[in-house]
């Protein structure tokens, strides 16, 4: 499988919505 690893996830706000079945990405999220 393609694995989206944590180095490439840096500073993205990764938002998991298990009930709605979607994942969101927002740049510059850590501030």
């Amino acid at each position: 499988v393609f694995i989206f690893g944590n180095v490439q996830q840096k500073t993205l706000e990764v938002f998991y919505d298990g009930s709605a079945g979607k994942v969101g990405f927002a740049p510059g999220g850590c501030s």
């Binding site: 393609f2 694995i3 938002f15 919505d17 850590c30």
Partner: protein, 421 residues
């Protein structure tokens, strides 16, 4: 330190290595409007409480990458095993043996949060892992073995809210899907066992206790593993916080309050901090893509990945290269792994755009490394991920390169060895 223009990042070479001091002192992360936020630190960085203890040596980058490779191998085997055998070849756990069930190596998982467990609560630093399901920590009296951890090992006999799960409880049998192993039974108490790759495992009593996320967000009886026999590359952390999709993960166990919503932000360098939030709502500028389920590994968060751009140009890779392999997002895997055809296209395009810089020797699984000793700033092509929903996610400049030292800075991607991985 990073100037953006349309297709490339200009990076100050000095910013490639983390500073030795913690750049964002611990801020009080608040709990409000039905969400709980915890601070995320890099396990081996200057912001981590574990880092103060010099007796727990941080692994070298080569060791971290090697651990990462065994994690990826175990994820691939988890997916191919159940595909091949049509289900989990589960084994019965007893308190001494753990079958060679491939899980995912957590030694490489390098982001931790601190939670409270028990009454009175004890602070424990746990690796958070979207690639596995159960939460466990080492427990006194460490009947068989405990590895060295920074904080005091949790003692359930000192917690007034701890209870053991009996073997006959349905929760006990539901461990099979969360760990891939049939639970055992010792003096009528449910025994769990989870094996991560070939080097680390945790076996012990399955129980419940109070989990305190923040001063106002606590859950009275969260199911977790109280490890009496633990071995592995956990770098001083007290155990693991499982965020997978199984019903025993902390995400499912707190669904009543947070409806399986959680988010995190991993800091740009090991000397800064991020967060893990349960509940809440997404940032306004979020781009969404559907979650998919990989039948061979329903606990993983599957994504429909469709392409890569380098320097603003989408690479000519057929979508079937991605759809054949499937894709997951995993907070515990360090380096993204691409199907071989995709990685060789990325590698060729990146090397072409970086041809003015001198290549140097490879670093473990990373085969495209540069010597930037004679440069103060560099220009690096932007890289973006495309998903089937049509969105493109730009990878941050700090997510494109992995620096061992200034004279060995590598493209932070690796190829899978087999297209069907």
């Amino acid at each position: 330190k990073i100037a953006e223009n349309h297709h490339s990042h200009t990076i100050e070479v000095s910013s490639l290595l983390p500073s030795t001091s913690c750049k964002s002192p611990t801020k009080v992360l608040s709990s409000h409007d039905n969400k709980a936020s915890l601070e995320v630190v890099h396990k081996y960085g200057p912001c981590s409480r574990l880092n103060q203890d010099k007796t727990i040596a941080a692994p070298t980058h080569a060791e971290i990458l090697l651990q990462d490779q065994s994690r990826v191998k175990s994820i691939h085997s988890r997916l191919s095993n159940s595909k091949a055998s049509g289900g989990n070849d589960v084994k019965v756990i007893d308190a001494t043996t753990v079958p060679a069930k491939d899980g995912s190596v957590v030694g490489s998982g390098n982001y931790i949060v601190t939670v409270g467990l028990g009454t009175p609560q004890k602070q424990l630093s746990l690796i958070f892992d979207t690639g596995s399901d159960i939460t466990w920590t080492q427990c006194q009296p460490c009947a068989k073995s405990c590895y060295k951890q920074k904080e005091q090992i949790f003692d359930p006999s000192q917690s007034t809210s701890y209870t053991n799960i009996s073997c006959s409880s349905s929760i006990c049998s539901s461990l099979t899907s969360a760990t891939g192993n049939t639970p055992g039974c010792a003096s009528s108490t449910c025994v769990y066992g989870i094996q991560y790759g070939d080097s680390s495992f945790s076996v012990g009593f399955f129980g419940t206790d109070k989990l305190t996320l923040t001063s106002t967000d606590a859950f009275n009886s969260i199911y977790f593993g109280c490890g009496q026999n633990n071995q592995g590359l956990f770098g001083g952390s007290a155990g693991l916080l499982g965020l997978g999709r199984d019903k025993l993960s902390v995400v499912s166990q707190t669904a009543q309050k947070y409806s399986k919503i959680f988010s995190y932000c991993l800091p740009s360098s090991s000397s800064s901090t991020g967060f893990l939030t349960f509940g809440g709502s997404a940032s306004k500028n979020s781009k969404f893509t559907p979650l998919s389920t990989i039948s061979a590994g329903p606990s993983f968060y599957g994504l429909d990945f469709s392409g890569i751009s380098v320097g603003g140009t989408k690479l000519a890779i057929s979508a079937s290269v991605f759809s054949n392999a499937g894709a997951i997002i995993d907070s515990g895997t360090v380096i993204s792994r691409l199907p071989p055809a995709a990685y060789s296209a990325l590698r060729a395009s990146f090397r072409k755009l970086m041809s003015k810089y001198p290549l140097t020797s490879a670093l473990s699984i990373l085969d495209t490394c540069y010597d930037f000793s004679n440069y103060s700033t560099i220009s690096v092509p932007k890289i973006g991920f495309f998903f089937s929903s049509g969105i493109e996610v730009d990878i941050d400049a700090t997510g494109i390169l992995y620096a061992n030292r200034i004279s060995q800075v590598c493209l932070a991607f690796a190829g899978n060895s087999d297209a069907t991985d």
